[in-house]
Amino acid sequence: MILNQWKFKCGSLVCALVISQNAFAFMNGSDLVFTLSAGPSLSSTGETQTFELAPGIEKSYVPNKSTKSIATSEFFVGLQMPLHNQFDAQVGLALGVSSPMSLSGDIWDDADPAFNNYSYRYQVQHTRLALKGKLAADWGMPVLPWVSASLGLAYNRASSFSSTPTDPSAVSTPNFSNHSTWAFAYTLGFGAQHNFSEHWSAGLGYELADWGKSSLGTAEGQTMGSGLEFTHLYTHSILINLTYIQ
């Protein structure tokens, strides 16, 4: 269902851009541009979260790594138009997808490290659709530096939580449920690209992304609080991009 929604949105996206291209025909030299970016990302795994699940039952969730590496990719479709003599501007829509990020750590009963009796694991996957702009400078050098920014809507799915007793007397407890969150997301990036031909260019860039909020659902029997959550999930990506200009 969600996939179909995306397909619809993507189909609508191309139509909208073709229409936009005609609508902006008054802009001399406006071209349709497609960019595919992909690369590794580092993400913060957050800080220790301590909360009550029911009256008198408090636990701490302690991540066992401060960062996690994942893969991200983005497809951008938009219009490119010259800006003054030395700049090219791109405006369009970007669809970004990440690989599932596995998060793990320890659970301290009573928020007390003396009762470090469980380990946990779950994953978060991020998808976003954003309005994106890019500004490239053509200063006659072999490579064109650029900066970019985007603002859009993210769909963050937290799932597959499992906790495992690490003490033989500890009893398995109900797991947090899967949960999806819609959130605002933004990116900021910079990089450089080289134009290989009239239509093709490739480059390398850095991008900071805030995926927004993600959260697991409550566990069976939980009467207080929610599942583990990120208010902001930041990623730092190195992206190789390939661009085709019509």
Binding site: L53, A54, P55, G56, I57, K59, N64, D106, D109, D110, D112, A114, F115, N116, N117, S119, T166, D167, P168, S169, A170, V171, T173, P174, A219, E220, G221, Q222
Partner: protein
């Protein structure tokens, strides 16, 4: 190589440290925890439960098939205290948890689990004894008892007449019938003919005895159930009460008093 081994050992030590936990409440077995319980019997298992958390905990036992928590009233929470249901323990406080195992309610075979003791009646925070002290219960068949036969199993007793007799025989060659009783169905009006009845509470192997009854009741059918506390099954005797043909006089023993015309 030696350095690599040492580093590995240190890494293993610290990885173990990372998960060095401890139960929040501990269980000390006060009785055997690996037990066999016959289908017709019960057993009791006791643990001392001690709260290791610095927070006060209200604990209860999660339901287990065939195992019930014997609730000790708060009035007996004086050392050595029994655990009420639920029970509240402060840091390092203990109580004795008594569990009754009912053979008839157990699942067949052997079960190793629990007891699961949880905080605030929630499954979000539960602990159990270490594996060696967990309840391991084997349900066994009820021991075979002696078998009795009764002759006859259907008979007539004439109202206000001589007592009717039924003979009970213990067919076992080794086991004595205990607590032998004849029970008349509710409402059935049969009176023990104490002069004729020979059965007592026990019946030795291979021996027989007699239950005899008078009746002054009007015509009806009555069932007499004969069994001992250790017999495999009860034997039912169907008694038809019939009207007397000759009425020759009053009989105080049976409660029968006859009018001159021969009618009661």
């Amino acid at each position: 190589m030696k350095v690599t081994g040492l580093i590995g050992a240190i890494a293993l030590f610290f990885s173990g440290m990372a998960h060095a936990g401890a139960p929040m409440w501990t269980f000390t077995a006060l009785t055997a925890t690996t037990i066999s319980v016959a289908a017709n019997s019960t057993a009791t298992v006791q643990y001392r439960v001690t709260n290791q958390s610095h927070k006060t905990k209200t604990l209860s036992v999660l339901p287990m098939q065939g195992v019930t928590h014997v609730d000790h009233a708060p009035s007996v929470m004086i050392p050595p205290s029994g655990c009420a249901n639920p029970f509240t323990l402060t840091y390092q406080e203990s109580c004795v948890l008594t569990l009754r195992v009912t053979g008839s309610a157990l699942a067949e075979g052997t079960t190793t689990a629990g007891p699961l003791v949880c905080a605030s009646g929630s499954s979000l925070q539960c602990y159990q004894p270490s594996l060696v002290d967990q309840l391991t219960i084997t349900k066994t068949a009820a021991p075979a008892g002696p078998t009795i036969v009764v002759d006859p199993t259907e008979m007539e007793i004439v109202r206000c007449s001589s007592p009717g007799s039924m003979t009970v025989t213990n067919t076992s060659s080794t086991l004595t019938v205990q607590d032998l009783m004849a029970t008349v169905t509710p409402g059935g009006m049969l009176t023990d003919a104490s002069g004729t009845t020979t059965c007592t509470s026990t019946l030795a192997p291979g021996q027989s005895c007699v239950f005899a009854f008078y009746t002054a009741a009007t015509t009806q059918d009555v069932t007499v159930s004969i069994a001992g506390s250790n017999t495999a099954a009860a034997v039912n005797v169907l008694v038809h009460i019939v009207e007397p043909i000759n009425t020759t006089g009053d009989d105080i023993r049976t409660g029968c008093f006859f009018e001159p015309n021969g009618q009661k």
